[in-house]
Amino acid sequence: MDPPRPVVHGASDSLKEISAGTLARLRRREVSALSEVYEAYGERIYSICRRLAGNRADAEDITQEVLLRSLDHAGSFSGRASFSTWLFRLTMNLARNHLKAERIRHSTKLLAFPGDEGPEDAAPGPAEKAMQREESAQLDALLQALPLDQRSVLILRQLEGMSYEAIADVLSIPLGTVNSRLGRGRQRLAELIGQSELEFSTGRDGSPRLGCPSKGSR
């Protein structure tokens, strides 16, 4: 058995920090500082929220709330953690609250295919794009079937490429809990893949991809 390659993500783990000047202006509630925060973290925050929520509308709401709160609460940022850790912590907390409230509002049962809401990804060719969108929707469906705790660690680990230590920091949980949630989350994903007839097939470029036999993808 060859051990699979560890997932490597560019600079994801060396979280960029805003300058002291920007932070000072944020604390004074200057709107220009908020733009800089968005510049540095907006895409990542949105992406995390989008995968956590499984749909665009909630992701937008949560991202906006994170940004507005960062403006309101920058004064209470103590500097004990880095600003990025503080901001991602804020993101995860607000997302959790938002999604819990949302789940109470609509009863849970129907979130089957939340990716179905028009284009939002950057565009390569149309065929590739369609494939990406389909995969993206499959991923959403899989992630939404996980408990929020497991979904959170998986997203931070695999989409954000954060280290276990950084995840523990952002979620304020012990390292052992990061381990076990990742383990359980991946096992649950594996079970779902087994159950849902999503089949492992091989794409033209030789990379593995999920196909759906009922749609005749082989």
């Binding site: 908020l34 991946r186 096992q187 087994g194 492992f200």
Partner: protein, 157 residues
């Protein structure tokens, strides 16, 4: 001897490159013997691959703009116009003090009037005197100063 559940936890660590080398051979042995775990670990690897390949979702282009629209204007936003307005108001405020002291001081209800007048805590004007003052050219200035003060206060909320 590890059970299947523990094996899968270890496989998760392996996926992240965090499994100690000493534990890898035990994992390998188990997988060679356990069909169920082998299948499950293949699916875990598939899920992992999907997660790392699909990746980020791009934010809508107008997200920043729509967020900024919701920002309530801060109290002390030091844009240039604000500073200039502040300086002018301060200058006129000083002028107001002069007007008050030289022209129209008596007893009364100044404390009921808001804006720079109260904040200066001048001894006060009776209403009629205040009106008379406001009708003179300097009085219009005074009114302007007071309104400016209110606007500034309003912004502060």
């Amino acid at each position: 001897m590890m059970n299947c559940h523990q094996i899968l936890d270890q496989y998760s660590l392996l996926l992240d490159g965090r499994l100690e080398p000493a534990k890898r051979s035990a994992l390998k042995q188990h997988l060679a013997a356990c069909e169920e775990c082998r299948l499950q670990t293949e699916r875990m690897a598939t899920a992992n691959e999907l997660l790392s390949r699909v990746g980020a979702v791009k934010a809508p282009a107008d997200l920043l703009a729509s967020t900024l629209d919701q920002v309530e204007l801060p109290a002390a936003q030091p844009h240039r116009a604000g500073i200039l307005q502040g300086l002018v108001a301060a200058g006129l405020g000083a002028l107001t003090v002069n007007l008050l002291w030289t022209d129209a001081i008596s007893s009364g209800e100044l404390s009921k009037h808001r804006g720079p007048l109260t904040s200066l805590q001048a001894p006060g004007l009776v209403r009629s005197e205040l009106l008379r003052l406001q009708q003179r050219p300097e009085g219009r200035l005074l009114a302007w100063v007071r309104n400016t003060g209110r606007e500034a206060e309003g912004e502060g909320r």
